[in-house]
């Protein structure tokens, strides 16, 4: 048995496994803790249920879901950076206005970039790119993290949350595209004779998939 593993086991026997894990968390750099939290423990889709509008609306196929995830991550990262930089200048009652202003700026930039470099995708996503402005995940992270923490922690938190959100969108999109079109990224993968489930393309399919996934998440990962 490697020495590291042996030390871990002795510590667990002495003070208990939960305490050892807690100490381990505390010993990690703050930015890494924030980054990892966003990926799963505080995943925006499965654990916090934030940003449900794009989760339900653009997960009919993998490609738009991935683009939406990337655009949201871009806005999260940029707004986290800017909000963190001006966190000491924020006045209590005007801070939400500043967050919205910052987020709206980067959403507009993301929308323009999509129109210029991915025009087909921009048409496909329609109004859901400008609607990133009202995604409560972004303003939530600005309020909970970027306006209180330094640049590195804020950016790591935004990256973790963004990747976690993209992961959530992609899981839903994979299931829905497979069921609705028998394809992934537009390439047919299901065997010949597979009957497409049209309902999976519609809002009902999005609600059913999300409901089942949330049920499974709660069943397997809910703390006792």
């Amino acid at each position: 048995m490697p020495a590291r593993r042996r030390r871990y086991r002795i510590k667990c026997e002495l003070i208990g496994r939960d305490e050892v894990e807690e100490i381990k968390q505390l010993e990690r750099p703050e930015s890494l803790v924030h980054f990892l939290r966003g990926l799963w423990a505080e995943n925006a889709v499965f654990r916090q249920m934030l940003g449900m509008c794009p989760v339900l609306a653009v997960t009919g196929q993998l490609q738009p879901a991935l683009t939406m995830g990337a655009a949201t991550t871009f806005v999260l990262l940029c707004s986290a950076l800017v909000v963190s930089l001006m966190r000491n200048l924020l006045v209590g009652h005007l801070r939400i206005l500043m967050f919205t202003l910052t987020i709206a700026t980067f959403v507009t930039i993301a929308d323009l970039l999509l129109q210029a470099y991915l025009p087909e995708m921009s048409v496909k996503l329609g109004p859901y790119v400008p609607l990133i402005i009202v995604n409560c995940l972004i303003i939530g992270r600005a309020e909970a993290c970027s306006s209180r923490k330094g640049i590195f922690t804020s950016v790591a938190d935004a990256l973790g949350m963004g990747l976690g959100f993209t992961f959530g969108l992609c899981v839903l999109a994979t299931i829905r595209e497979l069921m609705a079109d028998g394809a992934l990224f537009g390439v047919a993968v299901m065997p010949a004779g597979f009957v497409n489930w049209n309902v999976m393309k519609l809002p009902a399919g999005a609600f059913i998939t999300l409901g089942i996934l949330l049920g499974l998440t709660n069943h397997f990962f809910k703390k006792a």
């Binding site: 009919g60 001006m86 200048l89 924020l90 006045v91 005007l94 206005l97 500043m98 202003l101 910052t102 709206a104 700026t105 507009t108 930039i109 323009l112 970039l113 129109q115 210029a116 470099y117 025009p119 048409v123 329609g126 609705a180 049209n198 393309k201 519609l202």
Partner: protein
């Protein structure tokens, strides 16, 4: 009063100015590319409707002060007019539908239609983009108004357009836009 207002809100005012300048700068940089994308899409669709070797001549609206707004498109091949095309917009089921419709030079038959923008219901209304529905407009007579029917053979070329099951409103909307567009094109060209 003013001092307190400025003391509280100087950051908001400064940020609005800086962000506004930033966004307008980026828009200025990307605008030509965004416009070019839209033109390329129309050019691609026109080539599909009139054939790869067709020369497309956009006719500019003389009343447009910028001299950019296209009134209609004329397609030519070796000096001969192949037909005309027009961008037409109308209300769909969920949002406006933007179509490109093309007719032959004699205004006898439709060359076909292309969907430039639509947000119809996935799985139902968005089938207006499929060749199965769109293809019905190819070679349709334009002497009389097109009508929507619920059943029939899609391969038969006549003024009857078979609607999409579960998307009657979207089908009717496309037919109305085409009927209106053909009338408008006839008025402009003649």
């Amino acid at each position: 009063m003013i001092v307190k207002f400025l003391k509280d809100s100087w950051l908001v005012l400064l940020a609005a100015l800086v962000f506004g300048l930033g966004v307008s700068g980026i828009y200025g940089q990307l605008k030509p590319r965004i416009e070019q994308n839209a033109q390329l899409k129309i050019a691609r669709e026109l080539k599909e409707l009139f054939g790869e070797d067709a020369m497309i001549d956009p006719k500019i609206d003389p009343e447009d002060s910028d001299g950019k707004r296209v009134l209609y498109y004329q397609a030519n091949r070796s000096g001969q007019t192949l037909g005309y095309a027009l961008e037409a917009v109308g209300g769909g089921f969920a949002d406006n539908i933007r179509l490109l419709l093309a007719v032959d030079a004699e205004f006898e038959k439709l060359k076909g239609i292309a969907v430039l923008k639509s947000n119809e219901t996935p799985g139902f209304g968005d089938k207006i983009k499929d060749a199965e529905f769109k293809g019905q407009f190819g070679d349709c007579p334009v002497g009389q108004k097109l009508i929507v029917t619920k059943s029939g053979e899609r391969s038969v070329v006549d003024e009857k357009i078979v609607s999409i099951t579960g998307a009657t409103i979207s089908s009717q909307a496309v037919v109305d836009i085409v009927n209106g567009g053909v009338e408008r094109l006839r008025e402009i060209v003649k």
